[in-house]
């Protein structure tokens, strides 16, 4: 009876499937509403933004004008912020994925003294909120004179403990010890084995860590807020927040909420694009045929 009672045609299965689907639909709506709000709000005039229903478009489609305002405001500094964010996020993500790959690979494939302790430290570091480290980092950077330079944002972002954890698990699954041994017998050094034989097997894991680190760095707000002091070094997050703050206090003269909304819309597009581009790396079965499962 056990198996019969749980087939896809059984009433129990159908019920639990419906419940699960319903819960996921609610979650989907919950996730999409803010994004949808950003889309509708960025097409409105400032007056319509406060005068019309928030979750639908108003009659006056004002997106083009908002975008023009966005990119011309303060001599087009938004583009500069976008460039900064892109630079910070890309270098951070590449670096973080690279170090996570090396560390995860070592944890997965090598035995060394202190391995368990070090990995426990990595896991512990996952628990520490980045925000808690900002003030110590500020003090450190002020000592070495890195405040208000790109390195002040990039260096801390290279440390990405969840990526190390992910890469370790991924390497353990995707690379068999025998391939590494075969490379050693063939005379390749350890770095050569990693770059020439096993890295391509690890691309899906590497891409995952890259995109996670990219999004984390793209959305990073508090660290650049604290360590950056001139507006030409700001990333989009900090720049928009400052515009928003001056719009709220009404001190910006012509600063409008619509510009902030349009800026938000523009700033999430590259992340979506990054996901679409990275998607092609998430293909399984790369190691098929190498070793018999």
């Amino acid at each position: 009876m056990g198996i019969v009672g749980n087939t896809v045609r059984s009433a129990r299965f159908r019920l639990s499937r419906w419940v699960l689907t319903a819960i996921l639909c609610i979650y989907l709506v919950y996730t999409l509403i803010p994004i949808f709000y950003v889309v509708t709000a960025s097409t409105k005039t400032n007056a319509d933004l406060f005068g019309t229903f928030g979750l639908w478009f108003s009659d006056d489609f004002h997106l083009r004008e908002n975008l023009v305002d966005l990119f011309t405001m303060q001599d087009g500094i938004f583009l500069r912020w976008l460039g900064n964010t892109f630079f910070y996020a890309l270098t951070s993500a590449i670096g973080a994925a690279f170090f996570a790959l090396l560390a995860g690979y070592a944890f997965a494939k090598y035995d060394f003294a202190g391995k368990r302790l070090l990995f426990a430290l990595v896991l512990g570091a996952v628990m520490i909120p980045q925000t808690a480290l900002v003030i110590p980092l500020y003090l450190l950077f002020s000592k070495v004179g890195l405040l208000n330079t790109p390195l002040a944002v990039i260096l801390p972002s290279l440390v990405f403990p969840p990526g190390v954890f992910l890469m370790r698990v991924y390497v353990e699954e995707a690379v068999s010890d025998e391939i590494i041994d075969a490379g050693r017998v063939d005379g390749a050094g350890e770095l050569h084995i990693l770059s020439g034989l096993t890295f391509r097997l690890l691309m899906p894991g590497f891409a995952t860590v890259f995109i996670l680190a990219f999004v984390a760095a793209w959305n990073n707000y508090f660290l650049p807020l604290v360590v950056m002091s001139t507006s030409d070094q700001f990333p989009v997050t900090v720049g928009l927040a400052i515009w928003y703050a001056s719009a709220t206090t009404g001190s910006g003269g012509n600063l409008l909420f619509t510009v902030v909304m349009a800026g938000s819309l523009v700033s999430i597009l590259p992340v979506i694009l990054a996901f679409l581009i990275m998607q092609r790396f998430w293909q399984g079965g790369l190691s098929a045929g190498s070793v018999k499962a």
């Binding site: 041994d181 075969a182 050693r184 020439g196 790369l286 190691s287 190498s290």
Partner: protein, 355 residues
């Protein structure tokens, strides 16, 4: 080609001792097989020779040079792995040339060697394929090809056939035997399959518990096993063993006596008889009596499993299939006294004709 010498080699993982002191010489051009049950240390011993594991003690010499502290590549050996371990993102040709590229051989030389190996292994039609587009047997041949092109001083095989299906395994076994003849290379081969060991080896090394139990040619091990473990591990179906004790010119076993021409040594504790060295007789006319339990007819041979009180089930091999015995039939069993194996209380072999 090479002589490989192990002297006092030990290996421990933490506090667990896997190899407990191995002395062994593998001669030039010899086909040596390490055989033993799971956990006997046979694969570890091979990996020590390959340099993939560091020895905990002792020395490994290749052609008289101590290579104990050298890495796998410096030992100039090739290895074929159980899982093939092909490089999945490389084509067959790239798989075979990788080691030569690492060694920075000229391109022309690489191509010459790879083409030659491909010809030997009949891999030419598949050179541009990736491993995932090959069958199990083809993958195995690529793995062997990758080993050949390096022109190693010796080949190491780690259970190379255990992932293949039964029919293919027999084919590949024959191919490996031919390859050994053709290359006249030193080969060290690990298997848990005693049939592979018997058919391929010049010399078999039987391992158990990290200790060499016996070294010898297949027929030496079959005919003169040094102890009970080897006696029961080599040969299929395995040797029958009964508790035994000496009594004048006879050996007492459960349910009867086996009379010998000369008095057996006094310290015997076990009697071993291979299935083909027992003859079925009418009840009461053999050395002991029993009852037929199961009859297996293989066509060329028949195996009868005979239950003997206090001795368990004995296997008897009868040539042919028309043997005229039935299940539950009482029978007598007569031992071929010329081909008995005797062991003392510690399981060590005792010569039969001691007197």
């Amino acid at each position: 080609m090479a002589v490989i010498t192990l002297s006092g080699v030990t290996k421990s993982f933490g506090s667990v001792s896997i190899i407990k002191g191995v002395d062994l010489t593998i001669d030039d051009g010899e086909f040596v097989i390490f055989v033993g049950p799971s956990g006997s240390g046979k694969s570890t011993l091979l990996r020590l020779i390959a340099g993939l594991e560091e020895t905990s003690g002792g020395h490994i010499l290749i052609d008289g040079t101590d290579v104990t502290d050298r890495g796998p590549a410096e030992r100039a050996l090739s290895m074929v792995f159980q899982s093939y371990a092909l490089y999945p993102t490389k084509t067959v040709r790239q798989n075979m040339s990788f080691g030569l590229e690492v060694a920075r051989l000229p391109r022309a030389e690489i191509d010459r060697r790879v083409d030659a190996a491909a010809a030997i292994l009949k891999l030419e039609p598949y050179m541009a394929r990736k491993p995932r587009a090959l069958s199990g047997g083809q993958r195995q041949r690529v793995a062997i090809g990758r080993a050949i092109v390096r022109e190693p001083v010796a080949f190491l095989f780690d259970e190379p056939l255990s992932n293949l299906d039964a029919a293919l395994r027999v084919d590949m076994r024959v191919e490996i035997a031919k390859l050994h003849r053709r290359l006249a290379a030193t080969m060290v081969y690990v298997t848990h399959d005693q049939v592979e060991a018997m058919t391929l080896a010049d010399k078999i090394v039987v391992l158990d518990g990290g200790v060499i139990q016996q070294v010898g040619s297949p027929m030496e091990l079959y005919e003169r096993p040094a102890n009970l473990f080897v006696a029961q591990f080599i040969g299929s179906p395995k040797m029958n063993v009964l508790p035994a004790s000496a009594d004048g010119r006879a050996i007492i076993v459960p349910g009867g006596k086996v009379r010998l021409a000369a008095p057996p040594p006094a310290m015997i504790a076990h009697l071993g008889a291979r299935p083909e060295n027992i003859v079925i007789t009418p009840p009461g006319q053999g050395d002991i009596d029993g009852r037929v339990d199961v009859v297996e007819r293989l066509g060329s041979d028949t195996f009868a499993y005979v239950t003997v009180p206090d001795a368990g089930v004995l296997t008897v091999r009868i040539v042919g299939n028309d043997v005229g015995i039935a299940i539950d039939q009482p029978v007598g069993l007569a031992f071929d006294t010329q081909r008995l194996h005797l062991f003392d209380t510690r399981g060590q072999a005792v010569p039969v004709a001691a007197a």
